[in-house]
């Protein structure tokens, strides 16, 4: 696949920046979250948003759907939700004097699926999402139905109301490109929200990127150059999540999978394009390391009791693993470059 020219790259970057600006106009004070969500979308990944109610998770997804001119459906996950409720069911219909089962697509058949409070559904229903998220298709009664392109699942979950919830299985978690923690707003942002928003009234948002343009940008992301040294860094970073491979991994019981490495590379490429670069960089990998890896590692008992968090351990890992595996003579010592512009 040919790499985009500088002009094409500039066009894609401009489109992405317009999208970012539109979303930041909907969701105040969450620039970092918005940037990561868009990064995830461009990297063709599914995103798990975790945060307290009312922080704008659903609003962000709805805004994204509007800005991208994509079809969107919302599934409110509950314990009694059945797999067929989301994938669709065959319905007996009569046509031309014959009665036959006709597949009635479920809410998964959309571009942007908002799986609200995903951890409230039973494991059986959660598992119904596995094939849809990985293969981007649904199989019902032995018949496979491809999902529309592009297809993203943006799931939300509430970290405090754990009564009657089913934690997502590891296999399910691994299919999410990012797990993003939605943080509370500071007072200044709250003031902006109060000033510019009204309860019960949805903010107006015009489409800024067509479906075709989005697919074009996503294709461009795939052609972004991933230098060998960056790929090596990703490999060492993921390898470092396994016990015994790094100091930080002392708190980890199970490390990240190869899918994590692919996710890191894809997200780094997307971030490179968003920055207007033709290549992914160490900085891109570092920027997406926590959202990509934090839900893919399992901390051991002692680390959890000691109050360590997944994000904290990944942060330690990023600080520990050098970007370049380089042995330096002892006749030289490390010192920060002093730049005087």
């Amino acid at each position: 696949m040919p790499q985009p020219t500088e002009a094409e790259l500039a066009i894609h970057t401009a489109e992405v920046r317009r999208l970012l600006a539109a979303l930041n106009g909907v969701l105040f004070g969450q620039e970092r979250l918005v940037e990561l969500v868009v990064t995830g979308i461009l990297a063709r990944g599914h995103i798990l948003l975790e945060g307290l109610p009312g922080l704008g998770k659903t609003e962000l997804v709805k805004g994204l759907a509007k800005a991208l001119e994509l079809g969107t459906k919302r599934i409110q996950f509950t314990p009694d939700l059945l797999p067929g409720d989301i994938t669709g069911n065959p319905v007996l219909q009569e046509s031309n004097g014959r009665r036959e089962f006709v597949f009635q697509p479920g809410p998964l058949f959309t571009n942007l699926c908002l799986a609200d409070e995903i951890n409230r559904a039973s494991p059986k229903t959660q598992s119904a999402l596995l094939e849809a998220m990985q293969e981007r298709r649904v199989t019902v009664l032995g018949e496979t139905h491809p999902l529309p392109q592009p297809f993203f699942v943006l799931a939300t979950q509430n970290p405090i109301e754990l009564e009657g919830t089913y934690p997502l299985p590891e296999a399910q978690l691994d299919r999410f490109l990012f797990k993003l923690d939605v943080q509370r707003n500071d007072a200044a942002t709250l003031e902006r929200i109060v000033t510019h928003r009204e309860l019960g009234v949805e903010p107006e948002l015009n489409p800024v990127m067509s479906r075709e343009a989005l697919i074009g940008v996503m294709e461009a992301v795939r052609t972004i150059f991933l230098p060998e040294v960056v790929a090596n860094y990703i490999a060492r970073l993921v390898d470092g999540t396994h016990p015994g491979q790094s100091k930080a991994a002392g708190a980890i019981k199970y490390g990240a999978s190869p899918r994590a490495a692919l996710s890191l590379a894809s997200a780094a490429k997307a971030r490179g394009l968003m920055a207007g670069r033709i290549n992914a960089s160490f900085e891109d990998v570092q920027a997406v390391a926590i959202p990509v890896l934090q839900h893919r590692i399992i901390l051991d008992y002692n680390a959890r009791i000691d109050g360590k968090t997944n994000a904290g351990v990944v942060s330690e890992l990023v600080a520990e693993v050098p970007v370049q595996a380089l042995s330096v003579p002892k006749t030289l010592k490390e010192s920060k470059p002093a730049v005087t512009a």
Binding site: Q3, E6, F225, P227, V229, V230, G272, A275, R277, I278, N279, A280, S281, F282, E283, D284, Y301, N302, I305, D306, V323, Q324, L326, S327, V328, P329, K330, T331, L332, K333, E334, S335, K336, P337, A338, V339, T340, A341
Partner: protein, 460 residues
């Protein structure tokens, strides 16, 4: 090498490319030099230790003479070894050398250029613009203590043996003592020369022969052949001196007789004495050790008539001189016989050698010769063994307890172990007193200390 980079704002992509390539090459050179210096440090120290040992050895070696030529050679060898060391360390360090790509990645990661240099080197993007002026672009600076200490220690190591007060090479030359026979013969020759007894030319010849023996390597001075030659020379000198003494004495006697009683003697007797005197002179002239030429010439000038008419005072002086010479020769010959060659030089006498070979009877048991008959050997068989009183048992007592040794029996008492003699009976097992505490048992008994610590922290 400069530790800082002075950058200027670029004007064109070409100049940016040139600048970054230069910076990458400089980083690479710096790191590779660092590797070389690191490997060279221990090698330099090794070189210093070897050099110090070498210098110390040469300074103390007896065979070494610090001439210009030898010093030039040493410098050449040291330079060669140093050069080899440099090449060897470079070859070893080369395995760790930084590649251009590695240097480039280092530079872009340190300057947070988002891998722009890598992309530019692949031709995918323009070279990043030069940001301004900065120092230590590669994020490394020289570790000066690590750089300086090895050469300083090496210099100290090389200088150290020169500062040590080692005796000069010629001062430590250890020459073995030469055989005493040479010195004795030289002393005799000196005495003969002083007394003007013998012909100086002949004396010189003997001295030359001694010198020839001395010119042999010192380790051969006491070789069998050398000692044989010394012995032969000494015997030859002794014979010559003996002959000279005999002829001198004979000439002295005839001269004395002729000068004193020449006028009163019958012509036949005087002729016979004159003939004997002439024969003695002949011996003194043609002998293996001729007489001093001046004296001999004076004596040869004397005819029979002259001898008869010789002034008594002159005759007496002449006779005295010859007598004195004869005395000196006798003295020397006495010395010759007093110290046989080989005596005092570790050479065994003939008697000692025969005794060692068992040819002569020795002293003490077992040391007799082959015809010694029965001797008392240190151990031998008899009808009864030697009574050494080793089987006698004697009772020893120690009444003074202040001098008792550990293990001495002080007394004997009767005693018995304490045994429980109570009769045993059958008893019931009874019921379990404690039913256990469920989870408490796990908490107290089954958890590992670190698990307990974790739970303690959690429930704190």
């Amino acid at each position: 090498m400069r530790a800082s980079l002075r950058l200027v704002m670029s004007q064109s992509p070409q100049s940016d490319a040139r600048f970054w390539k230069r910076s990458i090459a400089r980083t690479r050179r710096r790191v590779n030099l660092g590797w070389w210096l690191e490997i060279m440090g221990p090698a330099l120290l090794f070189f210093g230790v070897v050099s110090a040992c070498g210098v110390l050895y040469l300074r103390s070696a007896a065979w070494f003479e610090p001439t210009d030529e030898s010093i030039r050679r040493i410098r050449f060898v040291a330079g060669g070894v140093g050069g080899l060391l440099l090449v060897a360390t470079w070859l070893i360090a080369r395995r760790s050398f930084l590649t251009t790509d590695q240097a480039m990645v280092r530079l872009e990661s340190q300057l947070r250029l988002d891998n722009g240099l890598t992309a530019a080197s692949r031709g995918l993007a323009d070279w990043p613009p030069v940001p301004g002026e900065f120092k230590r672009a590669d994020g490394w600076s020289w570790n000066w203590p690590r750089l300086i200490l090895p050469p300083v220690f090496t210099a100290l190591l090389v200088a150290f043996p020169f500062l040590l007060p080692v005796r000069p090479a010629q001062g430590v030359q250890v020459k073995p003592n030469e055989p005493m026979a040479w010195q004795e013969m030289e002393k005799w020759l000196e005495d003969l020369k002083e007394e003007k007894v013998a012909d100086p030319e002949k004396l010189e010849e003997v001295a030359k022969q001694i010198d020839e023996l001395r010119e042999n390597p010192p380790e051969e001075w006491f070789s069998h052949s050398n000692l044989e030659a010394t012995d032969s020379l000494r015997e030859s000198l002794e014979r010559s001196l003996s002959e000279l003494e005999r002829n001198t004495a004979e000439a002295g006697l005839t001269l004395s007789a002729l000068s004193k009683f020449g006028s009163e003697m019958s012509p036949e007797t005087a002729d016979r004495l004159a003939e004997e005197f002439a024969e003695a002179l002949q011996g003194l002239e043609t002998g293996s050790m001729p007489m001093d030429k001046e004296m001999l010439a004076k004596l040869q000038k004397l005819s029979l008539e002259d001898l008869k008419k010789l002034d008594p005072a002159a005759a007496k002086a002449m006779c005295d001189k010859m007598g004195k010479n004869g005395e000196a020769l006798k003295r020397m010959l006495a010395q010759c016989k007093g110290t046989k060659p080989g005596e005092g030089e570790g050479v065994l006498s003939e008697e000692e050698i025969l005794r060692m070979l068992g040819e002569l009877p020795g002293e003490g048991p077992g040391k007799g010769g082959i015809d010694r008959g029965r001797g008392d050997a240190p151990m031998y068989h008899e009808d009864e063994e030697s009574n050494l009183a080793t089987k006698n048992l004697e009772r020893t007592t120690n009444d003074d307890l202040t001098r008792a040794a550990p293990g001495d029996v002080l007394g004997v008492v009767e005693a018995e172990h304490q045994i429980d003699k109570t009769a045993t009976t059958v008893g019931s097992g009874g019921a379990i007193g404690s039913a256990g505490k469920g989870g408490g048992r796990v908490w107290e008994s089954d958890l590992l200390p670190e698990e307990k610590a974790v739970l303690n922290r959690f429930y704190k």
